[in-house]
């Protein structure tokens, strides 16, 4: 079992007018950055990095980052910058990027270089995930949504080739062209850092992950459709002639642990406060109907069971936010939020593991209006009690992660995919 930690890094500004359950709604691309408070921003970036360092100390296997653009609910507009800092300041945990938004990069050679540098500096701890991004991302970086899927696939092929094939070579693709590819940094891990794919909606993406034999991570989706989507992965793998298992699948959901049940409930409710993120339903967040599904961004017919078909021509509704957004009480009931003391939380996590059988899990915590203290209390209790208990459960349920069993072959992993396991004395400075 691979256990990771995630927070979306919300911009928590109580003065902003859109903070808190009664704040005015954020609709995508309607909130101006003119009120951005630089001092607060600096504080928060450092806080979230500190929490990641503590998460490593508390025994998490992975520190997960994500990226969104032009929105206060996620400050990771340039996630690779945060990843670079973690590469240097952490020592053991994987740096799990879920992920870089491939189609919005007009020049994916930058990704080849940046990610290889992160892998180098971390001495082989990068997990490089890709996503296709939401409409917000396509608009913010002015990337054509109709070519999102084609660009995703071509950028992936290009990056893998640039990481694995000695240069120089030429690349004359449909969407990307280079006359001299020869980056002077190559990844530490061989043949290249693992590629994972998180997803919510697109059947194309899931099938692609299954075809590439790479782990597919579902993000805060409801349990039953998630199980169905996982089954689709297994079925596809079987059709392709290989045996997939828990090592191929991951699940991210909201877990907060606290000292008392009362404190857990009180803090858990903060998930739906903070900047009114439409993905944290129950607050005032509003989905921009035009951005739910830009033309051609996601196939209207090839969607996962987690997704109801919704398009901008139909007037919106649904989409990623529609998949993730349900009221707090409902989410508690259906296990997509788990809050409590270690004693009550562990059996619920066990239920999720039994039901979905993932090999990787990510606890989404410290979000919404949660403070640094809220996050740190939970991280401490996770480290002291929850993570050890979950590891035991995972062993009992036989849920190996992708670093124990190779998702491509179903065989136990070699001890290391890096050139050599070496101590990293310099990084102690962090």
């Amino acid at each position: 079992m691979f256990i990771g930690y995630f927070t979306e890094r919300p911009y928590q500004d109580p003065k902003s007018g859109y903070f808190g359950a009664t704040g005015s709604p954020i609709m995508d691309l309607t909130v101006s950055n003119e009120t951005y408070d630089a001092v607060l921003g600096a504080e928060l970036y450092n806080r979230y990095l500190d929490e990641k360092l503590y998460a490593e100390e508390m025994g998490f296997d992975g520190l997960m980052l994500n990226e969104h653009h032009g929105t206060p609910f996620c400050m990771g507009g340039a996630m690779n910058v945060e990843a670079s800092i973690l590469a240097r300041m952490t020592h053991r945990a994987k740096i799990v990027l879920l992920g870089n938004i491939l189609p919005i990069w007009d020049d994916p050679l930058w990704l080849v270089e940046q990610l290889a540098m992160i892998d180098m500096i971390s001495r082989g701890r990068l997990v490089s995930g890709w996503v296709r991004g939401t409409g917000r991302e396509s608009v913010a970086h002015n990337s054509p949504p109709t070519y999102n899927w084609e660009r995703f696939q071509e950028a992936h092929e290009f990056i893998i080739k640039a990481w694995t094939t000695p240069g120089p070579f030429r690349w004359e693709g449909k969407h990307y062209q280079y006359r001299h590819v020869n980056p002077w940094v190559r990844p530490y891990q061989k043949p290249h850092p693992p590629i994972w794919l998180p997803g919510v909606v697109s059947r194309d993406s899931l099938m692609w992950a299954a075809e590439k034999r790479i782990p597919y991570i579902m993000l805060a989706t409801e349990m039953e459709p998630t199980r169905q989507a996982f089954q689709l992965y297994h079925d596809t793998a079987a059709e392709l002639g290989y045996k997939s298992g828990s090592q191929n699948l991951g699940y991210l959901w909201k877990v907060h642990v606290d000292e008392t049940e009362e404190l857990a409930e009180q803090t858990g409710r903060k998930y739906i406060q903070g900047p009114s993120n439409p993905f944290l339903a129950g607050n005032e967040g509003t989905v921009n109907p035009a951005l739910v599904n830009l033309p051609g961004l996601t196939s209207r017919t090839r969607v996962l069971p987690t997704q109801a078909v919704a398009t901008s021509a139909r007037g919106g509704g649904g989409g990623v936010a529609g998949v993730l957004g349900r009221p707090y009480e409902q989410q508690i009931k259906d296990y997509t939020i788990i809050c409590g003391t270690p004693k009550t939380v562990v059996p619920k996590i066990r239920h999720v593991l039994e039901y979905l059988r993932p090999g990787s899990i990510f606890f989404w915590d410290g979000d919404g209006a949660m403070t640094h203290d809220d996050a740190m209390r939970s991280l401490r209790l996770m480290g002291e009690e929850v993570i050890p208990a979950v590891r035991e459960i995972a062993k009992e349920l036989e849920l190996p992660g992708p670093f124990e069993v190779d998702p491509a072959t179903g065989e136990p992993m070699a001890t290391t995919s890096a050139p050599a396991e070496v101590a990293n004395p310099d990084s102690d400075a962090g």
Binding site: N142, P144, P145, T146, S312, R314, G315
Partner: protein, 266 residues
């Protein structure tokens, strides 16, 4: 003779290496009518008027629902190049052409490539040039109905607006908008709905008689774009309609039809 609604014929014709959905109606010499970014609009009053004197050729552009998308067409100049081949195959050139919005842009691009293929050119609220003042309204930051509503100055008092944009659109209608928006997105995502060099290329139209029609209150493509077209095309004339938005053909259908008839027959 009166042509009643639904009186057009519909056929798949083999042109330019693919099947093109072609609607035809009316009698007389051919008039090529190029639809805009939301696809084919259905039978409208102005069609009826023009069909008295012309055989209207109403193709559905590849990728806009009725005709299959051509994967290699990635921008408006690709589409214009393909359409010139399609015109060769249809055998109607040199032809009179009337283009609305994105269809106007298409007509203008084709004309710059091969002006001799056209007898007369009419551009109505055409996309394709960067407005010197104001900006082209972003259709992809709107849902389809909002975009259509924005395109008309006074939707409530525009009888044919309901036909263009019903309160409760059918599934087919929605699907057709969806296809149109996707292809429009391929053709015009960036730069948003214009080709930077087009005003300079339009110099080539000096022997092509061109009429530019614009609603003064066009909220989709600012009038400044119409003025730029007019400055760029030697000898063209610009008619600006007062109290009119981006869809003169439904906002002032009778006046619009007269204007077009007069120009085409002149």
């Amino acid at each position: 003779m009166t042509i009643s609604p639904g009186a057009w014929t519909e056929e798949q014709v083999e042109v330019g290496g693919t099947e093109l959905l072609l609607r035809k109606a009316g009698t007389g010499e051919p008039l090529l009518v190029l639809h805009g970014e939301m696809g084919h609009s259905g039978w409208l009053r102005f069609h009826q008027a023009l069909a008295q004197n012309y055989t209207l050729y109403l193709p559905c552009h590849p990728g806009f629902g009725g005709s299959d998308r051509l994967d290699w067409i990635m921008n408006m100049r690709d589409l214009a190049g393909w359409y010139l081949t399609a015109l060769d195959d249809l055998g109607i050139a040199p032809v009179k052409v009337l283009g609305f919005s994105m269809g106007g842009w298409l007509a203008a691009e084709m004309a710059t490539m091969h002006p001799d293929q056209f007898q007369k050119l009419v551009l109505v609220g055409a996309l394709g040039v960067k407005p010197p003042t104001g900006e082209i309204y972003d259709m992809f930051l709107s849902v389809a109905k909002d975009y259509l509503t924005t395109s008309v100055l006074d939707p409530v008092n525009t009888p044919e607006f309901q036909q263009l944009c019903p309160d409760d659109p059918s599934r087919d209608q929605v699907e057709s908008w969806e296809m149109a928006r996707e292809e429009a997105c391929r053709l015009g995502w960036r730069p948003y709905m214009y080709y930077p060099a087009l005003p300079l290329l339009l110099q080539r139209l000096k022997r092509l008689s061109t009429l530019i029609v614009w609603g003064r209150e066009d909220a989709v493509v600012p009038l400044s774009a119409g003025e730029l077209y007019n400055r760029s095309i030697p000898g063209s004339s610009l008619v600006v309609l007062d109290k009119c938005g981006h869809q003169p053909q439904i906002e002032q259908p009778d006046h619009f039809a007269e204007l077009i008839q007069e120009f085409l027959s002149g």
